[in-house]
């Protein structure tokens, strides 16, 4: 995992994402999900390009099932954009970089 992508868990989610000063993008993933791995390099690239503007985090739904449950996640990969603790956008499936980028642009 690239240095710019922060691994968050059920325990750290509130402090790192909901109370983050920066807008945050959280990638909900699991090791058994092929498209999650497919989208990995795109998320890492965005983390690098948006460093200082957007906090990019990954949450493993197997290790931390509580948080995806709270957000009603029943499909992965799911990317959720948070601003001031609120959900501002949600993307499901392995989509292209430009698709994620347009969502990020709206948030910053």
């Amino acid at each position: 995992m690239a240095d710019n992508v922060l691994a968050v868990t059920d325990d750290t989610f509130e402090a790192e994402v909901l109370k983050s000063d920066l807008p945050a993008l959280v990638d909900f993933w699991a090791s058994w999900c092929g498209p999650c791995r497919a989208i990995g390099p795109v998320v890492e690239e965005l983390a690098e390009e948006y460093a200082g503007k957007v906090k990019v985090a990954k949450l493993n739904v197997d290790e931390s099932p509580k948080t995806p449950g709270q957000y009603g996640i029943r499909a992965i990969p799911t990317l959720i954009m948070f601003k001031n603790g609120e959900v501002v956008d949600q993307i499901t499936g392995a989509v292209s970089k430009s698709h994620i980028e347009s969502a990020l642009q709206k948030m910053i």
């Binding site: 092929g34 791995r37 989208i39 499901t92």
Partner: protein, 304 residues
């Protein structure tokens, strides 16, 4: 502008095989993939019909092996996205957000994506119970009841996969027999957790925060009812990922690219391989075959 002899667009089995052959032919080639290499193999649980692998191999592992194989012989793979392609005399210009690439020969392997049903509630509930990938989302349905739509190989394979998690899988199929290949149809019929709803079609996906039921029509008498399920998986064929070509090469009415026996399209020096092509069988093995042919034909084209 970056210049290459050959550009391969897409890194599924067609593109990776084309890349392997191009690398071994010592062509100056680059493969462009927008995600990680593998294509639809990445959403395939187990591949049982890849010749030589009697022990079923996971789609993810096969993707990885094909990528490593091509790279071992020197193929360059870059993570980038093709936005459009233009023609400049004998050269093809590939537009990407990271700059343009000029090449003499081009192999298009953009693949295909799951077809949507186009019924009410489908778009709204996608990711909230409506899914096109059992291997991604199946584990969210442990001990729940789900519906699966379709009757082909993918629908049969995915329904079987979903029985590992769901306590009951309803397979909704519009005909009175499965189209899936014999061995898969047999397994579906023998599985106690699968109930096939013959000659029925989904009309809508219903639910507030997530899927709660599927509205179904019995095609024999046109009666309707609601089937209570927590998830609905749709496997009703594929659509080609050829929109970005904007009619550059000849396609059939559904957008599949028309090629000849050399995998060449209507434009000289532009080849196509894999699921994006108009053909009767879309499998990993046929995609790999197309890719090898396209790379060989591209080499011939470059030599002329």
């Amino acid at each position: 502008m970056e210049a290459r002899e050959l550009v391969i667009v897409g890194g599924g089995p067609a593109g990776l095989t084309a890349g392997l052959y191009a690398a071994r032919a010592r062509l100056d080639a680059v493969l462009i993939e927008r995600l990680s290499p593998g294509g639809q193999m990445l959403t395939t649980d187990m591949v049982e019909n890849w010749p030589g692998d009697l022990e079923a191999v996971s789609g993810f592992d096969l993707s990885d092996r094909m990528r490593k194989h091509a790279q071992h012989f020197g193929l360059e793979i870059v993570n980038n996205e093709v936005s459009a392609i233009a023609i400049d005399g004998e050269h093809k210009i590939i537009n990407t957000p990271k700059g343009d690439i000029r090449c003499k020969a081009l192999i298009l392997c953009p693949g295909a994506s799951p077809r949507k049903l186009g019924v009410p509630g489908e778009a709204e509930l996608t990711g909230k119970g409506v899914s096109y990938c059992g291997t991604c989302d199946g584990p969210f349905y442990r001990e729940q009841e789900v519906a699966c739509v379709g009757g082909g190989d993918t629908a049969a394979e995915e329904a079987l996969f979903l029985t590992k998690f769901a306590k009951k899988v309803f397979l909704i199929h519009r005909r009175d027999q499965l189209r899936a290949t014999g061995i898969l149809a047999e397994r579906v019929m023998q599985n106690d957790k699968i109930e096939v709803l013959w000659s029925q079609a989904p009309l809508a996906f219903q639910g507030e925060k997530g899927v709660e039921s599927v509205r179904i029509r019995r095609l024999k008498d046109n009666s309707e009812y609601d089937l209570a399920v927590q998830g609905a998986f749709v496997f009703v064929g594929t659509v080609p990922n050829t929109q970005f070509l904007d009619g550059l090469v000849e396609m059939d009415g559904q957008g599949f690219i028309i090629t000849d026996k050399k995998q060449e399209t209507s434009l000289p020096g532009v080849f196509a391989a894999g699921d994006c092509c108009a053909k009767i069988l879309r499998q990993i093995v046929t995609a790999a075959g197309d890719g090898a042919t396209a790379a060989f034909a591209a080499q011939r084209y470059l030599e002329e």
